[in-house]
Amino acid sequence: MSAPILWIAIPFIMGVFILFFLRERFSALIGGVTAGILALAALVFPIDTALLLGLISLKIAPSIQFFGRSFELNTADGPLLAIVYGLSALWFLGTEASGTSNRFASLGLMIIALLTASIAVEPFLYAALLLEMAAMLAIPLLVPPYQKPGRGAVRFLIYQTLAMPFILFSGWMLAGVEASPGDLSTTTQAGTMLGLGFAFLLAVFPLYNWIPMLMEESSPYVTGFLLWALPTFTVIFALGFLDRYAWLRTSSQLSNAIQFAGVLMVASGGIFASLQRHIGRILGYAAIAETGLLILVMGLRSSEIVTITFLTLIPRGLELTIWALALSIIKRKAYSLRFNELQGLARSYPVAVAALILAHLSMTGFPLLAGFPPRLAIWQALAGQSLVTSFWVFFGMLGLLVAAIRTLAVFVMANEDKKWSVNESWVQVTMLGLGVIGLFILGIFPQALHPLLANLPSLFEHLVP
């Protein structure tokens, strides 16, 4: 057995199997359990290390050849796979509670398999092709068969498709830059191409207009899943670029450009979130601001880039899961998700509203919640480099906080004679409750993540001194 078969081929085949052969009511459960088992396997079985189980010696080979190229998952990838499949299991198990289409678990599993393949493929440049395939698989999720496609889904497809050629060409040009680093013209062209490619992939300002559109026109749970999965793997892909090419790491202009793009996203995401009257769009802008933070971290001239990035990525997954699940539950009652339809909903959906607000506050970096420790680390690294940048990041976070307070105000705006009642099902209460407990655990005891984070920097050996 090889690692790529276990963590790429098997989940992909399971996704196909669930889609075509399994009864709808079991699909979410089987998808979630599959992802959970794969996460557990990644934690228990180290890749490329012999394990003696009784009389049986077990070793998971790290690579597999496919059409002359290899797919490789090393020992250091184990914690990453555990995180990715663990969070995916949460998403898939929440399908039933969110009332999302049952195709979500099957297609979601296939998307995660393709995204995992994107971190395994060698040369790593081909990841752009796999990211594009994953984006195309998301289309049936975003647009149900009975719904006319909106502009958001079409723009999403266009932008993800435009990203691929830029990245593939830039990769080819970067090889030339390495051969002759003094050639300023080629360096500029390669840098521009690369920047444009990642701008499309990560939805950098102003290319993020599809995100709020999708939050309005598609299922919030599905869109939330994509807003978690795609940027997570794209960030890992981008770190791979920084790790492989020395001039990208050392170029101060590029570092400034990355920081600027990140700050622009954080500030604009926060400000726009504070001005919205649609809680789905607020989630979209919060996700944009969060992606901006990740980009900002990549631009930091610090040896802690990798650690801070992964420290941010894990709570992000949990926050988005809870937020999207709560939104989906609320959407069943107030379909448009506009403020005027949400007034007083805290009294009829108290658990969903509380979970939503806590996830939102966590994303603003509220103390005691999961988002606080990574933001503290970012502030610490950022404050030593630029106070102006720190100010704009603070401004963006303030915008998110204003959006959270406005949302809370709308939810509690009810007649005093309205009775409190819990209308969520026990599955919904359990899922949201566990998620909120997770937010507090990660906020109060961030060291709980240490076993997972300890070996991750070895994935990018040049970025870590």
Binding site: E24, F66, F67, G68, R69, G99, S101, N102, Y126, L129, L130, E132, M133, M136, L137, I139, P140, V143, P144, P145, Y146, Q147, K148, P149, R151, A153, V154, L157, I158, T161, L162, M164, P165, L168, F169, W172
Partner: protein, 202 residues
């Protein structure tokens, strides 16, 4: 010599087909032009890739045309949606295509000087396709036309990228992406035209 002439004919064919797709409003003509466009792109791709790998691209392209054609054929009561973009006259799109052709003519020799060995017809064909695809994406919001724009842009990229990368895996992945785009386009075209399936999907 003959190969070069055929290559330039392929470039001419690309110019004609991309202009037709951009200007003509009849979906049958557009899909026919797309099929011809794939033939021209196939010739340019085989300047750098083996015949078999080029054929894979051609077959994938024609499969996409077939998928889109069959889908569109099934949509008998499709409402004609006017593009909201202004101005939408044929002259405007023709001028845009003229600008793309001028940019291609200007940039092709420079790119050949910067990256020797690609071949002038390959560069010209690739840039024409990419340019026409991007222009198409810029002037339409119609789903079929958006798909055609993406496929045209991708075909141009494949022509250029074939000159620098000859991996079988990449060729396979690009064929899958082409098919995926075609199927996604078909899916988006039929989405909303079928009745609600189950209550659970609300």
């Amino acid at each position: 010599m003959i190969t070069d002439i055929v290559s330039w004919i392929a470039v001419g064919l690309i110019l004609a087909t991309t202009t037709t797709i951009l200007i003509n409003r009849d979906w049958r003509v557009s899909l026919g032009a797309l099929a011809l466009q794939y033939l021209a792109a196939f010739w340019l791709v085989t300047r750098h890739l083996p015949f078999a790998m080029g054929s894979a691209k051609l077959i994938a392209g024609w499969m996409v045309v077939a998928a889109l054609g069959m889908t569109r054929l099934g949509l008998t009561n499709l409402e004609h949606e006017e593009d909201a973009f202004w101005p939408r006259g044929q002259w405007f799109t023709a001028i845009l295509m003229g600008i793309v052709a001028l940019i291609t003519a200007g940039s092709t020799p420079r790119i050949e000087a910067a990256i020797p060995g690609l071949g002038l017809p390959v560069i010209a064909g690739g840039i024409l396709l990419v340019g026409a695809g991007v222009v198409h994406l810029g002037v339409t919001s119609d789903l079929l036309r958006v798909t055609l724009g993406l496929l045209t842009m991708l075909a141009g990229f494949e022509v250029l990228y074939a000159a620098v990368e000859s991996s079988i895996l990449v060729t396979g992945f690009l064929a899958i992406i082409n098919l995926g785009l075609g199927i996604s386009g078909s899916y988006l075209l039929i989405a909303g035209s079928s009745p609600l399936e189950t209550e659970e999907e609300i």
